[in-house]
């Protein structure tokens, strides 16, 4: 067989993969499609916030507490921010910070987890015991405590949550990697004399990716909700940055007067987590269904 023939076959192989993705998306249930569309809209809002929002993020030129009008679709808050613009800018801050935190925690947690599963011995024992101790403290409580010690601020927030969340990721990554490590194909690679890098990146990682991706979706939701809760409690993202959690907190007194304004940012949070959950749920059913249908 010539190299050209092989090359065409390779490309054909790739195309079927792409076709697979399209086919999978076409077969997705409505709930998952709804989730994906919502996520897409949020992503667009976050990326193009300055172009979409009618007013700048920290603009307070308007009067406070204006009712909704053509200029201010949702009115203004007590300090005179255009509420709608704040809502859009908050997407950028809240989602961005949650995403960075989740990525960081994932990188740290899964690296440690896979290493522990592969090495076993003292490394696994040591890290596992430390993680067990951290797991015994609820994330929100620990985050509150640490923020009071090292002070509020976005950097501190990301670091603390990423560290705490990494312990949860570690547990899962270690468990799924342990399942993969005992497989005969890993032993076979070992017997061949393969190095650690090959075993991790060619034999183990491709096989534990589906549960890890699912977990990433759930971890993102958790981190996102925790940041929202901390901001709501006044120790998360700080003004003048717009953020949904603190927007609820800043305007919460309006509720008693019958204004639904603080419900909007809370709804924005809920809608995104519901959307991510719907997609994750579909993904979970698909991957576990494949395993059963063997």
């Amino acid at each position: 067989m010539s190299a050209i023939q092989l090359e065409t076959r390779l490309i054909k192989g790739r195309r079927t993969l792409w076709q697979n993705i399209v086919r999978t998306l076409k077969a997705s249930p409505n709930s998952a499609r709804f989730g994906m569309i919502v996520m897409l809209i949020y992503a667009l809002c976050a990326i193009f916030a300055p172009w979409i929002a009618p007013f700048p993020e920290a603009d307070t030129s308007a009067k406070g507490m204006l009712p909704s009008s053509w200029t201010h679709i949702m009115g203004t808050d007590q300090t005179g921010h255009d509420f709608f613009s704040r809502l859009i800018f908050a997407a950028r801050n809240t989602i961005g910070i949650a995403l960075i935190t989740a990525l960081l925690s994932f990188f740290v947690g899964s690296t440690l987890g896979i290493t522990a599963a592969l090495q076993r011995g003292w490394f696994d024992q040591g890290v596992s015991r430390v993680v067990d101790a951290f797991l015994a403290i609820p994330v929100l409580i620990f985050a509150l405590m640490m923020l009071s010690v090292i002070g509020k601020g976005v950097f501190n927030l990301i670091m603390i949550l990423a560290l705490l969340d990494a312990t949860r990721v570690f547990r899962l990554a270690r468990a799924v990697a342990l399942n993969a490590v005992v497989m005969d194909y890993v032993e076979s690679a070992r017997l061949r004399g393969e190095g650690t890098r090959w075993i991790v990146f060619r034999e183990i990682v491709p096989n534990i990716l589906p549960p890890l991706i699912t977990e990433f979706g759930l971890r993102f939701c958790f981190v996102f909700l925790t940041i929202a809760a901390l901001s709501f409690l006044g120790v998360g993202i700080q003004p003048p940055s717009a953020d949904w959690g603190s927007m609820v907190a800043e305007n919460k007194s309006l509720i008693s007067y019958g204004y639904a304004l603080p419900l909007y940012p809370a709804f924005a949070i809920a809608l995104l987590t519901v959307a991510v959950n719907l997609v994750v749920d579909w993904f979970l059913q698909r991957t576990s269904g494949l395993r059963d249908g063997k």
């Binding site: 067989m1 010539s2 190299a3 092989l6 076959r9 192989g13 497989m183 005969d184 194909y185 032993e187 076979s188 070992r190 017997l191 061949r192 004399g193 393969e194 060619r202 034999e203 491709p206 096989n207 269904g289 249908g293 063997k294």
Partner: protein, 544 residues
């Protein structure tokens, strides 16, 4: 018992007609059973055989009017002793289950509730159907335990399921099924999980008790020799269809269908043994253990001649797989040494040279776990070529195609994932991966036991062909004597971590035997329907 009808041997007890059963997979219903008729007379034992996926368990359970979750009986009729089981209410069916139709499952350990005493589970059926009072039911259970030759029949019922052995539990489950003296018992692969020496006792006990009470039975198994001992009549199933049906002796002597004949084939495969004095691998007084516990290998010495097939046989826990791990370096021996081409092999894997690793390859029992599900055949077979021989790009692919040809797969397989191949094809790819390294020794760890009978034969033939072509040495680990007969030159018998015997096939398989070899060999079911009777007679007279 509960039945008012007069029980006459020879009357039709169960009549199933045009049975179609669907199973759900990927949200779609696909047929598992495609229109099968089954008739069973009182006191008759019907053997239901077929390979995995043939639908034999599904059909057996349908005989009770039961479909597992995810299955549904879409058409056909099931008449049990005049009662239409499909039309019957759930209440009515439940009244029959346990009392008139009983079920014996494959895994006794999983099918007994861990939370209750064995005797309470044995008598539960009789008590639940209000057939006898507790004291009578318990006395009866003890009687059944005695008839099934369980040790300490008076007290064994007071134990919990996890406190007795697998073979004993399987007999206790038979007692449970027998407690209401049902008209029909469905045996669903009851001895598949047992070791061969344990299997004999369980088979004998089950056969006797079914005979004593004149109970009809459907005996489901994939093992022809087992069904030959148990059944009066045999039905062969494949892909949910009935292939052939005949009385046992007729079926064994004159199978009419090509498929049925092929099921017999592996038994007739027998390689002529060849001796050799050129030793490639010399295991000398090796002991090994996991952690600091009991020795799994105890002073094991084995010589493996070049270009030959040495079969290591033994039951679970005999240490045969551990021997493979010691040779490959996964479990360094605590004492003793292993010579490879006359030179001592370093004990641990990481101390061995790449070229040494290349020379000893391994093939696993289950290709499902031995092939990375995310790699295509190109990479699975190509990696050893790249890793050991430095082949890349088109050279590598050319060699992969060559190897595919040698395992009788065409080049289109190069882009397949393991999930896109059948069990036999996957095992072929495993073989090609081992061959790619151009090894001197291949360790085959139960390579055929996860495969269907016909596929087993093909794989064994392929392995022999490859040996003839390349003069590779096989260390063949198995528990299946038929496979040993088919492929071995020499045999090593292992028991509890020790070597009982090593020698040429003709020597080991013929008397005089050491005691354990005799027990092991005599326990292997033969295709002769009189084998079990004969064996029991022989053992009895030996005891007397």
């Amino acid at each position: 018992m509960a039945s008012e009808t007069k029980r006459v041997k020879g009357d039709v007890l169960l009549e199933m007609k045009g049975i179609v059963i669907d199973g759900k997979s990927d949200d779609k219903w696909n047929p598992i059973i495609r229109g099968v008729d089954l008739t069973l007379k009182r006191g008759e034992v019907l053997g239901l055989i077929g390979e995995s996926g043939a639908g034999k368990s599904t059909l057996g359970l349908a005989g009770m009017g039961f479909a597992r979750p995810g299955c549904r009986i879409t058409s056909g009729s099931i008449i049990f002793d005049g009662i239409d089981l499909i039309a019957a209410s759930e209440e009515k069916r439940r009244g029959l289950w346990g009392s008139r139709i009983a079920y014996v499952a494959q895994s006794a350990a999983a099918s007994f509730n861990p939370a209750h005493h064995i005797i309470d589970q044995t008598t539960e059926t009789a008590l639940g159907h209000g057939i006898m009072p507790r004291d009578k039911a318990e006395a009866d259970a003890r009687d059944l335990y005695r008839r099934l030759q369980l040790p300490n029949p008076d007290t064994i019922g007071l134990r919990f399921p996890h406190q007795v052995s697998g073979g004993q539990l399987q007999r206790a489950m038979t007692a449970m099924a027998m407690s209401c003296r049902p008209d029909l018992i469905i045996f669903d692969e009851p001895t598949t999980a047992l070791d061969v020496t344990t299997q004999v006792e369980v088979l004998a006990a089950m056969r006797d008790i079914v005979e004593q009470f004149n109970t009809a039975a459907i005996y489901i198994t994939h093992d022809l020799a087992v069904v030959a001992q148990m059944a009066h009549r045999i039905m062969v199933l494949r892909y949910g269809n009935l292939v052939e049906e005949a009385p046992t002796r007729t079926m064994l002597k004159q199978p009419t269908q090509a498929y049925t004949k092929s099921l017999w084939a592996v038994r007739s495969l027998a390689k002529k043994e060849r001796s050799s004095d050129d030793i490639v691998l010399d295991v000398q007084n090796v002991s090994a253990s996991y952690g600091n516990h009991i020795k799994v290998l105890d002073d094991v010495s084995v010589k493996i001649p070049r270009g030959r097939t040495v079969a290591v046989v033994g039951e679970s826990g005999s240490g045969k797989s551990t021997l493979a791990r010691a040779i490959t370096g996964l479990l360094p021996p605590s004492t003793g040494k292993i010579l490879f081409n006359g030179q001592a092999l370093p004990g641990a894997l990481k101390n061995r040279e790449r070229d040494t690793l290349r020379r000893i390859q391994m093939i696993y029992q289950s290709a499902d776990t031995a092939l990375n599900p995310r790699q295509k055949v190109r990479d699975i077979i190509g990696r050893p070529l790249e890793f050991y021989l430095g082949l890349n790009g088109a050279d590598r692919d050319r060699k992969v195609v060559e190897l595919l040809e040698s395992i009788e797969l065409d080049e289109s397989y190069i882009d397949r994932l393991p999930s896109e191949m059948s069990g036999g094809q996957k095992q072929r790819v495993s073989i090609a991966r081992a061959l790619a390294a151009n090894p001197e020794v291949i360790i085959c760890d139960e390579v055929t036991s996860a495969l269907d009978q016909i596929v087993q034969e093909e794989i064994l033939k392929l392995l022999m062909k490859l040996q003839a072509d390349t003069n590779v040495t096989y260390l063949f680990i198995t528990h299946d004597i038929a496979t040993v007969r088919a492929i071995a030159d020499e045999i090593v018998v292992m028991h509890k971590g020790k070597v009982v015997q090593q020698g040429l096939k003709s020597k080991v398989l013929n008397p005089p035997y050491p005691a354990y070899t005799e027990l092991l060999l005599s326990s292997v079911p033969q295709m002769d329907p009189d084998w079990l009777t004969g064996l029991l007679k022989k053992r009895q007279s030996a005891q007397a």
